[in-house]
């Protein structure tokens, strides 16, 4: 881990971005975008999470190992969710099979 001291200005900027993101999420929730409501909502949430991880949690200023650890955690979560969802979507009657 570096001894880098993140500036207070950076923290305030990130805070501002997070608040804007929150307001945006709430606002967009009331606009009918059909299927894209979910996409926009998740995209904003992921962006906010990334800002927190990179700047508040200092991953931007840390070594490769830290980034690897974070990425692995999310990767395996994606594996869990992805395969379970894929199974769920693939269920349903098959022709000729019960």
């Amino acid at each position: 881990m570096s001894e880098h001291v993140v500036s207070r200005k950076t923290y305030f900027l990130i805070f501002g971005a997070l608040m804007v993101g929150t307001a945006l999420t709430v606002a967009v929730a009331f606009v009918d975008l059909g299927i894209f409501n979910d996409v926009v909502m998740l995209t904003i949430a992921v962006a906010k999470a990334l800002l927190v991880i990179l700047f508040f949690m200092h991953v931007r200023y840390s070594g490769r190992l830290t980034a690897l650890a974070v990425a692995s955690g999310f990767l395996f979560l994606l594996i869990l969710m992805g395969i379970v969802v894929a199974d769920y979507l693939a269920r349903g009657p098959l022709p000729g099979v019960g």
């Binding site: 955690g73 594996i79 869990l80 395969i83 199974d87 269920r91």
Partner: protein, 552 residues
Amino acid sequence: MSTTSHAAPANYLTGGGWDLKSWLLTRDHKRIGILYILSITVFFFIGALFALLVRLELLTPAGDMVQPDSYNRFFTMHGIVMIFFFLIPSIPATLGNFLVPIMIGAKDLAFPRINLASWYLYNIAGVITLWAILAGGVDTGWTFYTPFSTSYSESYVALVLVGIFINGFSSIFTGLNFIVTIHRMRAPGLTWFRLPLFIWSHYATSLIIVLGTPVVAITLLLVVVERVFRLGIFDPALGGDPVLYQHLFWFYSHPAVYIMILPAMGVISELVAAFSRKRIFGYHFVAFASIAIAVLGFLVWGHHMFVAGQSVYAGMVFSVLSMLVAIPSAIKVFNWTATLYGGSISRETPMLYALGFLGLFTIGGLTGVMIATMGIDVHLHDTYFIVAHFHYIMVGGAIMGYLGGLHYWWPKITGRMYPAFWSRVSAILVFVGFNLTFFPQFILGYLGMPRRYWAYPPEFQVLNVLSTAGATILGIGYLLPFTYLFWSLKYGQRVGDNPWGATGLEWQTSSPPPTENFLTPPVVTTEPYDYRDLHVPPESRSPLSREEEEYA
């Protein structure tokens, strides 16, 4: 170093106190390893007791010893105790705790207090589980499938699950400690590819622990919450999905079997190298195979659910992936075998266990590929074929790895050697008893005998009787080390630094080691398993080993 001098320098046993407080509040990874040996031995015998009860009932086709509900509790408690309280912690918490810092040239693990906390959590969990057992136990199977576990079982499900949940934290703490230690505390010159394969295995194991355990933790916690607070997450009456429970449960519980076998594989690498006096063939392949097993192991859990109601497409994908995961294991077996070739092989007790492992793990692994084939599994699922398969891996593999490792490093841990004759007898009894217990079960399963049944058709009796007879022999094989190892603590021959004449940092310090592991912190300049250039000073080897050399 002198083997009989009474003026020997203080080691971790003699220095640092001998009173209860110095043990119960220790932060020394070596003492914690010993504390764990004691704890898991207790639970091993509890689990074995339940196995004995199961095998006694199965001596006769009729259900005539106990009620079926009691039988359900026997096999459930056998599974829970053996898996969560013996196999999962076994090698990592005992041999791993003792050896990981020493093998990398460190003074202790990264977080000694968390290590001690891990042991306390294990015991708290154990007490809670014992309380549940004494109160009447659980009858759901160790898999706790819903909705039986959430809505219908009238046994102590919530209590046992709380115990398992706490045990999960114990496991996570161990894995976390190993990962940080191996990354950050290696001695100067100890690059990743100079590490003993025991370390690679424990690193891969720790990755699985950290990524998988939390998922089963939350899943089991939700079962508790559903039973206690009636929050209906898995309740089918509300639209809850029992198959979803199984996905979440097996997401951990399949990788869990790799938690159980990878450390044993690490032990085998060390034993095969030491008792062939030869470097491990294909070191890099074995190292990468450990990581491959850990990663691929997370992608195959649906092979436990072929007939559970998951989609056929998921079944097909899981089937193919399950065959792929056999490949790194096979790579290891080939490399160990190639190591033996041209080696100077000695038949010390640890090597007997290692050789047994090679054969039995291969049988277990091959039968695993058989049942990974979805079409075959439709017939064999929930039969004794499955039971035999996983016992070949977990007993023929993992437990023999544990016993082999215990016998190999016992002189390092205690400074004493055990009697070679009795240890060899035990190894042979374990091997014979094991095969007699479980090979008939392959046949029984193939013929259609279901598992978790307390009665069976009369034509299966002969094979069941053979199996129970084998279990008795196996039990004697387990009891013997329990006696002569304890005997050796007081009467066993004292040993020098390197009684086996092996490579590795642990053999370059005294037996037992000093509290801070090394008198001077080591610097590593050689490749691992460098037997060609190994010079072991005669005084490091015990007289016993020199005698053994005359036999070979």
